[in-house]
């Protein structure tokens, strides 16, 4: 049965003009082998073709009715659009202009009620603020109002003390500046004095050098470095002005050797 079904469909396609020449030739050969089945297929195709090609005794298209329907639809659509445009719910409520303040009495009523409620609520609560170790500010329900006067006095005292402290701070600042200036002057004086003292010491030392030199020339005795240090109290920093060299034949003393080499050995 399945093979017959496939064959019939293939033959129907042939009868509908489908298939390439090879396929059509093959189908024609099949149909020659079974002419009765082929005729049944031909009659079905021809019958359906005739049925589809038959005219139907229908009335012609009524354009007047059609245009009337079109105009009716357009009118309905236009009316709907106009209705939508004019409908307040479509475009929302009219744009409200800013109201003049106080024009609505209910706003005042609501405001007064809210204020009264707020005052009442605040009166039911006791607020405490600690302003110091000994000072506490209280207000609200159960607050000690006697403390307010004392508190005011204390606050005035504190303010006065703060003012005096401020003045004292300003005075202290001024004194600090004066002391600082004086300190600077003293530092300058000290520096100058130090410099003068150093100059005097250097001058005195030089004078001592000259005295010792004169003495050594006159006596012909030259002290050793240790003796010089012990005598002058300071370390020699520059070569001592040596006398001219003596003849080698003369016996040299230990002090003379020191003077020649500048070293002690």
């Amino acid at each position: 049965m399945k093979q017959d079904s496939e064959r019939d469909q293939r033959w129907m396609a042939y009868l509908m003009g489908e298939g390439d020449p090879d396929e059509r030739a093959a189908v024609e050969a099949e149909m020659r082998e079974d002419p009765e089945a082929a005729e049944a297929c031909r009659r079905v195709v021809a019958g359906v073709e005739k049925w589809t090609g038959e005219a139907v005794p229908a009335a012609s298209l009524d354009f007047e009715a059609l245009y009337a329907c079109v105009e009716e639809e357009e009118t309905a659509q236009r009316d709907k659009m106009l209705e939508l445009v004019s409908a307040p719910q479509w475009c929302g409520p009219p744009m409200s202009l800013p109201r003049r303040a106080g024009s609505n009495p209910w706003v005042w009523v609501a405001g007064v009620a809210a204020s009264a409620l707020l005052v009442f609520a605040l009166a039911q609560v006791q607020f405490t603020v600690r302003l110091g170790e000994k000072t506490t500010l209280q207000w609200g329900r159960g607050a000690d109002t006697a403390d307010l006067t004392a508190l005011r006095t204390q606050l005035e005292t504190v303010a006065s003390e703060a003012h005096e402290s401020r003045l004292a701070a300003q005075s202290a600042s001024t004194q600090i500046q004066t002391v600082s200036q004086r300190n600077s002057m003293m530092q300058e004086e000290f520096r100058q004095a130090t410099a003068g003292l150093a100059w005097m010491q250097r001058a005195e030392s030089q004078q001592r050098y000259r005295d010792v030199e004169t003495l050594m020339r006159l006596t012909g005795v030259y002290p050793s470095a240790n003796e010089w240090t012990e005598a002058s109290g300071e370390t020699r920093r520059q070569p001592f002005p040596f006398p001219e060299k003596k003849k080698e034949s003369e016996p040299s003393s230990p002090d003379t050797r020191i003077m020649k080499t500048g070293k002690e050995y």
């Binding site: 049944a40 009659r43 195709v45 019958g47 359906v48 049925w51 005219a55 298209l61 354009f63």
Partner: protein
């Protein structure tokens, strides 16, 4: 097939695309009427045979051309006008069929049975009345017993106007499905006729 009508000079030879373009751009009712008259007979015949009811077909034909008038700007000139037109016709027929089914579902049993009896699918006599001279034709009886979608497919294909590709566009299903369904319907008709003829397979046309 299509009856000849007297059409205004200058438009009778215009192509379907040109007429649609004129109507779309200028709302030229003359072009629309030429186009509608050109396709009216085919559309009403298609609807009558698919629905099995001439009165309904005439009403549906009016709806088809009303949609053409209303949605003309949606027509794509790259495609054939006939494809677009018959797609509208198929949609209108399906909408009509759904309306019939809904009416049956929402009424009582007896009313539903009466409505079912009036329906073309279950009333082959309605289609046979369309072809009064061949009421005894068993092939037409078998065609009348087909599903409306199947009759619609036969009509579209045998009109020679549409190939399987165009039918696939009209019915919005794959082309291979259209093809296999079409030959299955023909084969089914042949089998039914063979059984009704006692296996002789004799068909009168």
């Amino acid at each position: 097939m299509a009856a000849s009508f007297a059409v205004p000079t200058g438009t009778e030879n215009a192509s379907d695309r040109d007429l649609m373009t004129r109507f779309t751009k200028n709302r030229d009712r003359q072009a629309f009427e030429v186009l509608a008259r050109r396709w009216d007979a085919r559309v009403v015949a298609f609807l009558a045979k698919a629905c099995g009811d001439l009165d309904s077909a005439e009403d549906l034909r009016q709806e088809v051309f009303l949609r053409v008038y209303r949605y003309a700007d949606r027509y794509d000139p790259r495609y054939a006008f006939s494809t677009w037109l018959f797609r509208i016709a198929c949609n209108v027929r399906k909408t009509w069929a759904r309306g019939q089914v809904r009416r049956i579902e929402t009424t009582g049993w007896e009313d539903g049975a009466e409505a079912m009896a009036r329906m073309p699918d279950s009333a082959p006599g309605a289609l046979e009345r369309l072809t009064q001279g061949e009421a005894r034709d068993r092939l037409r009886g078998e065609i009348a017993r087909l599903e409306p979608d199947e009759r619609e497919l036969l009509l579209l294909r045998f009109e020679r106007e549409f190939g399987f590709r165009e039918i696939a566009e009209i019915q919005e299903i794959p082309e291979t499905t259209v093809k296999s369904r079409f030959y299955r319907i023909l084969e089914k008709l042949k089998v039914e006729l063979g059984e009704s003829d006692g296996g002789k397979g004799k068909v009168t046309s």
